[in-house]
């Protein structure tokens, strides 16, 4: 048996996500953004909705998401992706519109846009990658930075007395009637990634049914920003992020858990 006999569709157990381009990912090795991209693209591919999907890229590490996702995309100003997605979805009401945002983008500068798009119940999917830090600009404190966690702008650790407490955005928006689905996941293991993918799929199904906002948080690592190896950062995430940002559904089919 030679190699060409082995390379057959029925023998294939894994392949590159079809809707990802061949561009080299700009993310640090070990970062969760790449997996979150893959899962989103897999869902769109498997649902056969690429011709009806428009993504909105944020400002943050994933600003270049459109270089990697082989779909139509609009790049939004910092924090404004939900406003941009609102308009796209209103003008293409039968399309699948999603935003892909970091925690600084979604929970600091863009808080108003996030809350109001959620409150209006825009028919969009929000993929919210929470790594507890501003990755792109070099590791500054984010609204989601944990208490005591050092960053370049909280070098002695976040002091919640003067810097506020880490904000739980998904719980916050889940209380708005416009939000139909709010859930929190992670992508650092196969098991978690599979669950996250299911949630993303459900989110896009909700768009098909015109149910309003589906809000999928992905708690992720930022090994560069946290100044750890990828493995250390994943462990740190499990030990510190998950207790504060517990994984699981917060609101399903319009009902709070």
């Amino acid at each position: 048996m030679n190699v060409s006999e082995i390379i057959k569709p029925e023998n294939q157990v894994f392949c590159k996500t079809k809707l990802m381009t061949d561009a080299t990912l700009s993310y640090c090795p070990g970062c969760g953004h790449g997996t979150a991209h893959n899962l989103t693209m897999e869902v769109i591919d498997e649902m056969g909705i690429v011709a009806d999907t428009i993504g909105v890229a944020p400002v943050g590490c994933s600003v270049l998401a459109y270089d990697f996702m082989n779909i139509d995309m609009t790049q939004a100003a910092h924090g404004r992706a939900p406003a941009v997605a609102t308009a796209i979805s209103r003008l293409w009401p039968n399309k699948y519109v999603f935003t892909y945002q970091g925690d600084g983008d979604l929970a600091a500068i863009g808080t108003a846009e996030t809350i109001h798009a959620c409150n209006r119940g825009e028919n969009i999917v929000v993929i919210f990658v929470n790594n507890g830090i501003y990755g792109m600009t070099g590791g500054q404190m984010a609204p989601t930075t944990l208490s005591g966690m050092p960053t370049s702008t909280s070098p002695y650790g976040r002091d919640v007395k003067t810097m506020g407490s880490p904000i739980k955005m998904t719980e916050l928006v889940a209380n708005l009637p416009g939000v139909y689905f709010a859930t929190r996941h992670a992508v650092h293991t196969h098991k978690h990634a599979r669950k996250a993918k299911k949630a993303i799929q459900k989110a896009f199904e909700n768009t098909r049914l015109k149910k309003g906002v589906s809000f999928v948080e992905i708690v992720s690592n930022c090994n560069s920003g946290w100044k750890m190896t990828p493995l250390e950062s994943n462990q740190w995430m499990v030990d510190n992020m998950f207790p504060y940002y517990p994984l699981g559904d917060i609101k399903v089919d319009g009902v709070l858990k």
Binding site: V50, A51, D52, T53, I54, V56, A57, V63, L64, Y66, N70, I71, D72, M73, T74, Q75, A76, A77, R80, A83, V84, A85, T86, A87, I88, R90, L91, W92, K95, A112, E113, I115, H116
Partner: protein, 374 residues
């Protein structure tokens, strides 16, 4: 066919937007332009034409909704007044950078700060000198009547789509609030989704079919690419100057003195021309209809004919700088204008011409000349 109505400038603009087949409007209330969104909401445009009208949570959200809507290839607009436009400037810069067509309306009030709700033209610099960050310009139309508030909506969209660039209608509280008769155009149909895809599918986000994916962005991390983008914009602006400059000359043929004024000030200056001529002073008026492009060449030529120029503006002296640049010191140029929401009278304007230009012995001497600000 057209319909004659008595309307406020703001209402005429809103009605014209529905009739021009605009696809979407996003705005946030602020005096003196709230009638725009109020008229739109009252008219149920979703039923009339399918136009989307949404009251956003802020001007920032509204302009970013405009950005999103414009990226779909559809016709979208927003309106606000000065403080709100300041908030929109980041988004306007993005629209210019990402080369998106959109129409923005500023019904100017007095500033700085919260300022006043009374009319003003103090946003001239902000409108024509960038305002937002980066190397960009806006095509700026300055209506001087309720009729032009209505007509310029369609004109603005023509330019926006011709160049794939944001266009600003720079009005003010006077033109926005006053009532005049206006001929409204007939209802045009909105462009269908299929037509949008056919006409703009080359760049707009419509969903990736078997074509290459479309990306709307203003980001170029490679300097060479960014410079190429800036050069592409500059080419558009040069073409606008060549092909789409608009101005009006009133009593200029035999003029010895010239007023330069736009928008509401042009209406007042036009009356001052009449008063001057009654007195035997041969005055004329050059009214820029576009503030960018600016009638530089026309001013340069008129400078050979007239003895002096008065730039009449409802501000502390902004357009006067461009008038001076245009005439290249061939003739004296002074400014007259009230601020804070006070509207100058034709008599005051004529008086200023006499005092600052005709009888000003120090006019040629830049060292001893009075400051041009009131």
């Amino acid at each position: 066919m057209s319909e004659l109505k008595l309307m406020k400038g703001n209402e005429a603009l809103a009605e014209a937007a529905i009739r021009a087949g605009v696809d979407a409007y996003f705005g946030y209330p602020i005096t003196p332009q709230s009638e725009v969104i109020e008229h739109l909401m009252a008219e149920r445009p979703e039923e009339r034409t399918g136009m989307i009208v949404l009251q956003a949570e802020s001007e920032i959200a509204a302009i970013n909704m405009v950005y999103g809507a414009a990226s779909t290839g559809k016709k979208v607009m927003t309106s606000s007044s000065s403080p709100g436009i300041s908030l929109k400037l980041e988004g306007i810069s993005y629209l210019a950078g990402a080369e998106l067509p959109a129409v923005i309306v500023n019904v100017v009030r007095g500033g700085p700060g919260l300022g006043t709700i009374q009319p003003s033209q103090a946003d001239y610099f902000q409108s024509v000198k960038g305002g937002g960050h980066g190397d960009y310009k806006l095509y700026v139309l300055a209506p001087a009547s309720v009729q032009e508030m209505s007509d310029f909506v369609e004109d603005a969209f023509d330019i926006a789509f011709k160049y794939r660039a944001p266009v600003l209608i720079l009005s003010d509280g006077l033109i926005g609030q006053m009532m005049e008769k206006v001929y409204l155009k007939d209802q045009q149909e909105r462009i269908s989704d299929e037509e949008v895809i056919k006409k703009y599918g080359g760049w707009a986000v419509t969903g990736k079919t078997d074509r290459k994916r479309n990306i709307i962005t203003s980001l170029d991390l490679q300097s060479e690419k960014m410079e190429a983008r800036v050069h592409r914009l500059l080419k558009k602006y040069a073409q606008m100057e060549k092909e789409d400059l608009r101005f009006e000359k009133i009593s200029c043929d035999d003029a010895e003195y010239l007023f330069v004024a736009y928008g509401s000030s042009a209406r007042i200056a036009q009356k001052a021309v009449e008063l001057a001529r009654k007195k035997g002073i041969k005055a004329g008026l050059l009214r820029p209809i576009t503030l960018f492009p600016f009638p530089k060449q026309q001013l340069f030529e008129l400078a050979d004919q007239v003895k002096g120029i008065l730039s009449v503006e409802l501000n502390a002296g902004q357009m006067v700088e461009d008038v001076r640049l245009s005439v290249e010191h061939k003739v004296a140029v002074e400014h007259f204008g009230r601020t804070g929401g006070i509207i100058h009278t034709p008599e005051e304007v004529l008086e200023a011409l006499e005092e600052k230009i005709i009888h000003n012995e120090r006019i040629g001497d830049y060292k001893t000349r009075e400051s041009s600000i009131l």
